[in-house]
Amino acid sequence: MHSIMVVGMADREERRFAEVPRESVKLMSESAGVELSDELAALLAEDVCYRLREATQSSSQFMRHAKRRKLTVEDFNRALRWSNVEAIAGYGAQDALPFRPIKEGELFFVEDREINLVELALATNIPKGCAETMVRVNVSYLDGKGNLEPQGTVPSAVQTLSEDLLKYYQQVTRAILGEDPHLMKVALLDLQSNSKMAALLPYFVYVISGVKSVSHDLEQLNRLLHMVKSLVQNPYLYLGSYVRSLVSSVMYCILEPLAASINPLNDHWTLRDYAALLLSHIFWTHGDLVSGLYHQILLSLQKVLSDPVRPLCSHYGAVVGLHALGWKAVERVLYPHLPAYWSNLQAVLDDYSVSNAQVKADGHKVYGAILVAVERLLKMKALSLSLPAERGFGAQPGSGGVAGFRVSSPGLSPPPEPLSEAALGIASHLQGPGGAGTPWEDWTPVPLPAMYCELYSFFGDSLAVRLSTGPSLGGCPPSPPGPAANPDTARKMPQLTANLNVSPRQDGSPRPEPAPPSLAATRRNSSSRPGQRSVGPSRDVFPKARFPPPQAGPPAFSFLIGGRQTGRRCQGRRFQTSFSPAPPPSSAPPRTYAHKLPVIGRVGKPLRRWTCSHYSLHLPL
């Protein structure tokens, strides 16, 4: 077994290569039962570095002569063997080993999972794609002129689809885009688990890229997104470069002012929410493939957000998109942009003219989305500040959704963090030292209190209420007896979020309708009132932030939210006003409130009860 190697970069300008610090040497020697002095370890470390470099240099020869660009483990092993060093056993695989960072501490390691030989032997999904090596000849250039075939077509190796595959392709696409919902479900399920359709991937990706041509048809868009989801979840598929195409299709659904959204009765909001969820899912499970895109997507979201000409539904998409990318994305893009955006939004919301009704309704959607995103930001930030060390969450590693997800995609191997921090995990990975470039280098984080202050100035009490509501509203939770105790509660927060969070589930729904089992539900329902029992993270920070004078009349906004809802339900406003000064002791109202808010603007579409708007708005709780 290989132990974890800590590799630090010594002063960059001096050295251009990685060094093994002496701590690692000591660690290894200790694991072998030898005590080394610091001096000796340092010497050894230096020598090891040199030998490694030497071996690397000679291994590159083998790569060059094999006419490859990628250095493989085998090359390195050969170099070792020829310099009479014992080769490393067990790593001869052709494919690259995942090299993963752990975000706490600068720890990197090569993933070395245990392989269950029995499973491997009995597995029925032996790849069938390994065709016999063959030589094909084609006249590429006639008389040195012109290419007979256009460039960039599907490579000929793939063009030869077997009869079966072709049939499969036709049936699956027909089923998914067809009328029968049951058939669609079956097809999606199969797409998600079929191990033998790798050759069809480009075709499916092509079909999916057709989102642009069906932007008037919500139903079709939805189906295509489901197709994306199935493909992404299929553990036997290597998406490779196709993932970009998928992401761009998803982004299209999130951001574009779809033709379908002209009709206010069309629930394109849900579609956007779902697409955002999907985006988050892709980043979560295929982080290695799309890490280069992260920055690019942030930029395009930012661009949409800062473009006042764009319709509000695009803005809404940008906000939920940012939300899906994690609270860090919100912090870096949405939050700094908020003051500027706010004035525009306010203008829309303040216009009570009839002609503006529709736009205003949209504005409320955006408002709600921003609120949700921002609250999650505050919560996560508080969390990250208050317990940087307690990321382990050892408490519930195997809770339903999480386990199911892990099993479903062995190749993707989520890091050992709770899924709640999916997006966060990726973001921090990207920004971490090992990540692909550190974007936004000039960006400096705003301290939490200041941030809260500013946000409070926008949202007023609606913000505060929601924040303290989450963990501590309602009756005393019966199960954990001493939640009031500081360390205890501090530890509980993450648990809560972990369970609440939506792990993309296998069944295709982002999250089961009833909030995930036991713990979460009870906790949420049975949380105590604000002020009575302040919860760890928020207690430190928020009380302070509570008192700065709200400049803009914030309650007005909370009114408006309620008012917006009353548009459909006719009682939101009253409820809201009565709520803010003195929260009712009964646990029911806040809960309904919490449930209602996300429902903003949802046109009755019972079919998708688990839709994303619901989901994404749930997150911050």
């Binding site: 001096e14 251009r16 290569f17 230096e46 020598d47 040199y50 470099r53 030497e54 240099q57 020869q61 083998f62 060059r64 002569h65 094999a66 006419k67 490859r68 660009r69 085998e74 050969r78 020829w82 009479n84 052709q94 390994c130 065709a131 016999e132 090596t133 063959m134 030589v135 094909r136 000849v137 084609n138 006249v139 590429s140 250039y141 006639l142 008389d143 040195g144 002129k145 290419n147 460039q151 490579p155 000929s156 190796a157």
Partner: protein, 768 residues
């Protein structure tokens, strides 16, 4: 008979071991002179006067930087001399006067190899110092440019690899102590000086920077001044030419004395002298400066580790210098390329008329006799007149033509008659052979001359052969079945084949490592493959079995190729030696040693009398098959060379390297005559069209490019002066010469081949 011809390298090896005795002789001469020197010691630095580079080794010794240490050395040397001459009394007296302890001179000599020629063990007096003296002296002599230096014996790494007995000796040359803090000062001083000289000299003198830098750095490292070495490196590594970046990276990793042992790059640098070509004027300028400044440190390095090839005439321009430099050990010495090379083609064998006539009669019906007639005449006339540049027909013995070979020759001629004349306005068609599903990793490809078979070497140790014509590959029947065949029948050749084994492709198993080189024999009966496992294997394409495994390279064999006349083949590998073999000998006939790094590719000259090898030391060498001598050293590439091709007329050669450039060479003059820029990645394949008008190059960057070589060769004007000095001015005309660039579909091009009718075939593995 072959063995008698020569194992010249063995002799050279012996010469190498003889080295130390020579040094001993020098030492004696020197001591006598030292004696005289000690008498007039006051005028210490008379070395400044003995400056003529051809002067004796005296200059080298008396130039040691520090006073007292040198005195002691001198004393010791004198003592030694006295002792050898049995003047024990004087020894005692001197010793008493100098206050030296007795034990010093009794310490046994260690490192100087077989030094004790007279059996006396007192050749070395004190461990380190005298050793360095010894090695310095013995090395310093050929350093003087005026002395016609005996070619530095090529270094053959012992096949065992680990034991390099001379390492210590080699390294000890660095043991001279200088104040480590002064190194940057020295270097900087020289830098300032060179920056201040006239423009015309600056470029030339700047050549000194890199070797000086490396040697000073190594000296610092060797003497355990780790910190100073690092500082030195940081301070000055940025000044070096960018094409040395690769070597600098290796150097930068080397910070301890222990690292130096066993580092091949370092050893190469030490054992071989870095060769610089500098005009006499520039050299004088440099020498005067160093002597004025008494900059002994640098002067010592120049004397000991550099070979300065001085020429008379105009200093070269920066671009001229850049074109030629870049190799691991500097440029080639001018006299290294003086040997005459017989680059002409051998006379075509007379082919029996009846066979040809029969064919012609067959053709007659189609009414094309006219076309063939002149063709045949030209062939005939060519064969009558011996090319003055061609080697003797029997210079090296060649196998006799078999009937089947003659048939093939006729086929070849018939095809050649239908050949398309290529040119800048008539480009070839390109067919691409794509290896699909080559997840075993395609590492080498070859295509038979008649383009009927294609073979691939793979990283999974297999060799696969495909027939690209409708004719399938068949095995010969088993011995038992063969005995039943009527040997008198006309179609016996058909009958011996086992129809049941017919298939489109065959797999040859036998190697135990990736197959890096592959080559068909001209008669298509054999296939050679060279592999990482250190062997070259000969396969029969009749039985599809392995016939011989040639063991000789004990390290990976990077490339192998059959002679155009069959029978011989050449191989080169990680052991830095290229070997010439004959198929019926299990041991090599020749060893071509001299490269300072891996031999990465090997090619036969069309007349089979020469072999060209490209190496990771960024040089190309041409070797004479007859005597094993290196007759050309061509420098100019800035990266390991991975492809070579001779023009069909044998006069020119093209080479491609990892730097993405193709260089064209005139073999007769040993000159670079063209540089073709355009590729962005390693060039793995080069091939001239059948008439040599067009050069095709294939690269990792997924393109095939065609170059107008006719124009390239025409543009070169070779007057006597450039021919004599080798200072050619390369025209910057890559873009004019580039006739076309053709991209593949993510398929690196690793082999190119012109069919007999000038259709271009390319091959590579699809790499999704």
């Amino acid at each position: 008979a072959w063995y008698i011809l020569s194992h010249i390298n063995l002799i050279e090896k012996q010469r190498e071991t003889k080295g130390p005795p020579n040094g001993q002789v020098d030492l004696e001469v020197e001591k006598k002179e030292i004696k005289t020197e000690t008498s007039n010691d006051g005028s210490g630095n008379n070395n400044a006067n003995s400056s003529s580079p051809g002067s004796t080794s005296l200059g080298a010794t008396s130039k040691s930087p520090t006073g007292p240490a040198e005195d002691q050395q001198t004393l010791l040397a004198v003592l030694q001399f006295l002792k050898r001459n049995k003047l024990n009394e004087s020894v005692d007296i001197l010793r008493r006067e100098a206050g030296l302890s007795v034990e010093i001179d009794d310490s046994p000599g260690s490192a100087s190899g077989g030094a004790g020629s007279g059996g006396a063990s007192n050749s070395t007096v004190d461990g380190g110092d005298t050793n360095s003296l010894l090695s310095r002296v013995s090395i310093a002599i050929p350093a003087a440019p005026a002395v016609t230096a005996a070619p530095v014996p090529p270094k053959v790494t012992a096949s065992g690899g680990e034991d390099q007995p001379d390492v210590n000796v080699v390294l000890s040359a660095y043991s001279q102590q200088g104040d480590p803090d002064l190194y940057p000062l020295y270097y900087n001083g020289l830098k300032k000086f060179i920056e201040s000289v006239l423009d015309c000299h600056r470029a030339e003198l700047s050549q000194v920077f890199y070797p000086l830098f490396v040697h000073m750095y190594l000296e610092l490292v060797y003497n355990n001044h780790e910190v100073e070495a690092k500082q030195f490196f940081e301070k000055f590594s940025g000044d070096q030419e960018c094409y040395y970046a690769e070597d600098l990276r290796i150097l930068s990793g080397m910070t301890k004395k222990e690292h130096m042992k066993g580092n091949e790059t370092m050893l190469d640098f030490r054992t071989s002298k870095f060769v610089l070509r500098i005009s006499r004027d520039s050299y004088q300028l440099l020498k005067r400066h160093l002597q004025e400044r008494q900059n002994n440190q640098i002067w010592n390095i120049i004397q000991e580790h550099l070979y300065i090839d001085i020429f008379d005439g105009m200093p070269r321009s920066k671009s001229q210098i850049d074109a030629m430099s870049g190799s691991l050990a500097g440029e080639a010495k001018r006299d290294a390329n003086k040997t005459k090379v017989f680059y002409g083609l051998l006379k075509e064998p007379e082919i029996e008329v009846p066979l040809d006539d029969e064919d012609e009669e067959a053709e007659n019906e189609e009414g094309k006799p006219k076309k063939k007639k002149p063709k045949k005449d030209s062939m005939g006339s060519k064969s009558k007149k011996q090319d003055p540049n061609a080697p003797q027909q029997t210079r090296i013995p060649l196998p006799e033509l078999k009937d089947s070979d003659k048939l093939d020759k006729i086929m070849n001629m018939k095809e050649a008659a239908k050949k398309i004349r290529l040119g800048s306005d008539n480009l070839p068609s390109i067919c691409f052979y794509t290896f699909l599903n080559a997840y075993q990793g395609l590492t080498a490809v070859d295509i038979t001359d008649d383009s009927s078979l294609i073979a691939g070497g793979f990283a999974d140790s297999t060799v696969r052969v495909w027939s690209v014509t409708p004719k399938k590959l068949r095995r010969v029947k088993s011995a038992a079945d063969l005995s039943n065949i009527d040997k008198e029948s006309d179609d016996v050749l058909e009958r011996i084949m086992d129809e049941k084994t017919a298939s489109e492709s065959k797999i040859l198993y036998g190697h135990s490592g990736p197959v890096y080189g592959i080559s068909f024999s001209p008669d298509r009966n054999y296939l050679l493959s060279s592999s990482e496992d250190g062997t070259v294997r000969l396969w029969s394409l009749q039985t599809f079995t392995c016939l011989v495994g040639y063991k000789g390279h004990n390290y990976p064999v990077w490339d192998t190729q059959f002679s155009p006349y069959g029978y011989y083949f050449v191989s080169g590998g990680h052991d830095r030696v290229a070997r010439l073999w004959a198929t019926d000998h299990y041991q090599p006939l020749r060893m071509f040693a001299g490269h300072l790094a891996d031999v990465t590719c090997t090619r036969f000259h069309p007349n089979s009398n020469y072999v060209a090898t490209g190496s990771a030391d960024r040089t190309i060498r041409l070797w004479d098959v007859l005597n094993g001598n290196c007759v050309r050293i061509l420098t100019g590439h800035k990266g390991p060379i991975h492809s070579l091709a001779f023009s069909p007329n044998g006069k020119f050669m093209a080479s491609g390297a990892t730097d993405g450039r193709v260089l064209l060479w005139d073999i007769g003059h040993g000159l670079m005559i063209g540089e073709l820029k355009g590729h962005t990645d390693t060039i793995y394949a080069l091939r001239f069209s059948r008439d040599g008008e067009i050069l095709a190059s294939g690269s990792m960057d997924n393109t095939v490019k065609l170059w107008d070589t006719l124009k390239a060769f025409d543009d070169v004007e070779l007057d006597d002066f450039t021919a004599a000095t080798g200072h050619i001015h390369l025209p910057e005309n890559s873009q004019e010469l580039l006739l076309g660039s053709y991209t593949t579909k993510s398929t690196p091009v690793i082999h190119l081949h012109f069919t007999r009718r000038n259709l271009l075939l390319a091959a590579g593995a699809y790499n999704p």
